[in-house]
Symmetry: D2
Subunit: 393 residues, 4 copies
């Protein structure tokens, strides 16, 4: 067993500007760094009851939120496994790479996916949802899978329109929405928009390390889940919701992550939705101002659909985006997001979500601009100043 | 949204002497309390490659270990879902409450469980395993589910004998073993004992907070999993093993918990198996010496099967064990394990596993003895001195 | 420059039962582990103004408390340097080793110390103070130096009687009291007892790491200090009190330790004086019960003067107390206090102060008892049970 | 006792860009956040012996370094009190505010200070030192007090020239140098430059929170100190050096800060002098490029004397620098240094020292530029781009 070499430390704080995991506030890390407690004791129940109440706020729901020790991909599986019978049919929309991954989950679970293709550069065309549902006369489609914030391309879809499309089609399908990178970075209204399950993860707007997955669940979804014939155990909402009633879990939950979640929710409430969303919007605008100034192309083509959390940027074809990212990491201690799926090598992504401020983003954009120059990409310098102008606007 | 009252702090460090979660070393908590990093960057790959190599040591295997963001119950489901086709048959042995819970998982997954009943007071009778397998002429049983350290009663089963029973029956069933509370507290030899999947969790002998589940997997199991027809995504070993080759995961892994795992493995290796197991044995012996002295009854009736991690103790029938535990918690800041399943209210459990030493256990036993006296349980005082004598023996 | 070998880790939490530094609560360590802030910014002023108000509570004073980045020995020097002119005369009482060290400080500062000798086994005989002051017809003695809790022998002196002795003598000398190990472990009433300066340090009852020294100062002392002719800069109260008015310091203060102090004061207030002192008393009583049971001799001979923080214990002459301590440290991961000054090798000390509870102390006493047995000291076993009886009384 | 309001949290990591305290690396904060240990035990001795050896490296000395629980102002007093007899004479040079403060310390200690005035905009004119010493025919001047890095104006003096001036004058005065903000940010060669005492503090280039003061001491200074007639106790090197021989202290040292120091020295050694100094130089150059571009005036007028740690910048007279700083803090979560002494309200300072990198400084400069614009200061925009050009040069 050879010892691993100690990781070499680059001076200064790392700029973690991928679109999640995002930077975890020191207060949250310190909350996680507390001694583990008895998950069957009164202190734990008090913690759980409090945070299960608090977490509804962030989803804007009065219904229930289930917290899993899992990744976000687990929470995708959870939503489907509680609602769709074996071999059942679902409708999914190709907003980008993560929609695609979610489709893969559904297929591996043995579901039949009705897939609406798209170009990865714009959000959901709700008309196509309505059309597909209208064609499904026998209501075989049990659920619509929609991605709110598509992390691979920085495109945010209008979920309310998806809801309206389902309603216009007079279709009983449940609405499942991936809010992994949109939650707590952009307005998301679980109840008002009539979403049945929202799928989230800890490492984005919630400002936690990865390790927790979430399902916010409508009352309708809870009813459907009670009748659902799928084989499931770990993801089964029923036992969890029952145990949660008294503040416990039917298994040993990830206590220390829950300590962090409790603290992170406090910080988010302290900031408030209005500040939270306007901050994210401003930082996203500043980023786009730099991209435009550089003369680079934003993957998202529709200005109404720019994500507050992420900007995905094309490099001119003759440059490899991953080599750019590697150079920037090594020289400037800045992590940027890779191009995913068909964007591999062509696109890089700037994450501007979570616990950051204007100076973090401006430092990030400075790193990107210098990296582009180092790499020989023909850009117009001055992107940081353009971003500053937007911050000051 | 009302603010939760701040938890009232009882002075001094809490004695967390449940049979898991165990006490997390400060070094491990501090490792977890580091800034999250890019799960697709080179630093992460270096971490993963190192720890996936290191973790084999703790299972005594040369094969593969898969790490999940999950509870231990998730790792149970993972093992079954990778190996048993839908509706398949498994053989399981009722060592106690956790064996029972695992059976429940299998059943909810739609598997048919051949269940060998037992009295929860002793370990696996390998002869019964051999008998059941011998009767299965058509080899319909795909896997044997055995619990190594049964946390509900402090009984450790002889896994090598189970292996031999399978072999004697000439049966091809895979051997799946729950080592959740035995791993890193008692000798467990994955390869030497011919185990196919070992199921573990982070919050016991591994000295971590809960939040990670493990499957150590034999080469035979890997081959079987490749052909397995079950619908699975999150638990699927194939994608994970493939991504792990280069140090990554097919989803965003629980980075900060992995930082802790890396550190915890270092601490365990530093102590070494010999010290680790003799320490746990000594602390378990000391605990039993106190129990015997008090005149209370150990749930485990077979002295060759005492668990190194846990001692489960009957209270005389007229006393409620949970009220005893509550009193001890409030008065002495000591958490003890509750009686599970049919032991509810009748049994309490002392955890003596993980990052503890003789004085921790003696303080714990002092708390138990005082609590018993406070509660009016007729015991012979002097249990702590009896335990001290065992420590000094 | 050779690398230091990594410290070998003994499993389980270390039992730090010296009479200070005491165990630091996790909450306090985590408070210290926050990013340092601008010591001239508004956040710092808010912190300082708050804690300088809060800290008065712990001294039971309405006057002022000065906090130094220093050891307790520095705070001794501070008190003298602000009040006694060069070459001035002070009266000091030999309660034990720390009284002796403080005398050394006064002498090195060029002061003339009128020294009342004693046997290190009992507290201050206030009559001797009165006598000495009465003989000082010209009031040359400027200050009386008294140790409240003498950490070297576990003797607590009656400070109110010292005050009364000074008053009976009709002497204007200031009363300076070392409360380093008594503060927040036993009742100390700065204003009610008419003390002029109380000298304290962070690493005892205040439950902090070492690094902060304190002077609680009466209005009379403040007035005297304004006229004092000593050459002083670092310790000078005047500039500090002036800067403190607006929440600042005339130098860069130890910010992170102040974060910890703020948190520690919150925890102490949450417990409250009544609980705090009765807890310390009970743990001290339990310790003495064990010592008595073992048949060993307590250094403190006067039962009205037992310190709540510390018990100092003689070993039979044929045994070396430091070898005993070394053995206990290596075998049981327990640190005990060494014999200081003339007690070197003859005495060991048990600290029972700060953030501890009954089980911590009982584990400690178990370690001591086992160590004594290992070392061949003829004792009567059963000390831990005797201590438990006291806890339950 | 009213509860303090919880501090309102501004999102994102605070940019602490004052010229000290500097940003503390997470690894160092986590090292400080370990349980306190017995300061008289073997583990402590091992720590101390290791770090007292390691710390010589950072001063480039083979002699001794004394570490105090104190501020840097305490370390000033320490140096003087160990070397200059009561009423003795010293020579000091007015490099700026901190030189002035140090003079104040000397005067309050009763020393006679021969003060060489200067304009706070350039470093030491060694010729004036030589002149003053040459006039001191009777060698009454015992020490020369020189500030290497003057934190109030960003001016670094040439200490080797001061040494040569003393030698040219054939004067036996000791050379005392304040390296508080230059140590570990710019080359400082204690032995090679013939310095007798270097005064340092923890919160600057050493990347620690404030709370430790340092004296690096030449053999000559050690000899002088043995004969020095000053009254001193806390600062006395003799007892400390003696205790340090075996790894201990004559008082309870600030253990947790020493844990941090040990770690910080490891990080600094890992980076190495060459990288450390070139990084600081580059970041300082980038800052000056922005200042020049904005058309603002650098306080330091001599390009050979620019400090690597700090840039002090004049605002046009009609603007108040503290109001600018306040606005920048509130709007951009960035702390800048205030103007000290006669610079009050006229000057602000950017700290670019310690654990930072290019993106931190560029984010900082963006904050400054935006703040200047917000405040209506007539500047030429584009300072960040000018700084970026310097980084990439």
């Amino acid at each position: 067993m050879k010892a691993m070499p100690e990781r070499t430390r680059i001076p200064g704080r790392h700029f973690l500007q991928i679109p999640g995991p995002s930077n975890v506030p020191d207060e949250v890390l310190r909350a996680i760094d507390q001694p583990t407690i008895d998950h069957r004791g009164p202190e734990f129940a008090e913690l759980t009851l409090g945070l299960l109440e608090k977490i509804k706020w962030v989803f804007q729901t009065e219904s229930k939120v289930v917290v899993y020790p899992s990744s976000g991909t687990g929470a995708w599986e959870a939503a489907l496994s509680n609602l769709v019978d074996p071999g059942g049919k679902v409708l999914a929309y190709e907003t980008g790479h993560f929609a695609n991954l979610w489709r893969g989950v559904a297929e591996r679970m043995g579901l039949e996916v009705n897939w609406i293709e798209s170009d990865w550069r714009s959000g959901i065309d709700a008309g196509k949802i309505e059309e597909a549902l209208s064609e499904d006369k026998d209501h075989e489609i049990k659920a619509v899978m929609a991605v709110h914030g598509e992390t691979s391309n920085g495109v945010n879809s209008n979920i309310l329109k998806v809801r309206e499309a389902i309603d216009s089609a007079g279709h009983p399908a449940l609405l499942l929405v991936d809010v992994v990178s949109s939650l707590a970075t952009a307005d998301y209204r679980h109840d008002a928009w009539g979403v049945d399950v929202a799928i989230a993860a800890s490492q984005k707007g919630l400002m936690l390390p990865p390790g927790l997955g979430f399902n916010a669940i409508s009352q309708k979804a809870i009813l459907v889940s009670k009748e659902c014939q799928s084989n499931r155990s770990y993801w089964d909402w029923r036992k969890i919701l029952e145990s949660n009633e008294t503040g416990y879990y039917p298994y040993t939950p990830a206590s220390n992550m829950l300590f962090g979640l409790d603290k992170a929710l406090d910080l988010l409430q302290q900031e408030g939705f209005s500040n939270l969303f306007s901050r994210h919007n401003q930082l996203a605008e500043a980023t786009r101002a730099a991209v435009d100034h550089w003369g680079l192309e934003n993957v998202c083509t529709n200005k109404d659909e720019f994500a507050a959390s992420t900007t995905a940027i094309y490099l001119p074809e003759e440059f490899n985006a991953d080599k750019l990212r590697q150079g920037i990491l090594e020289k400037y201690n800045l992590s940027l997001g890779t191009g995913l799926g068909k964007f591999k090598g062509r696109v890089f992504r700037v994450g501007h979500l979570g616990d950051i401020n204007a100076l973090t983003v401006l430092g990030t954009l400075a790193g990107v601009e210098m990296g582009l120059v180092d790499f020989g990409v023909p850009i117009k310098k001055g992107g940081v100043e353009a971003a500053m102008a937007k911050i000051q606007a």
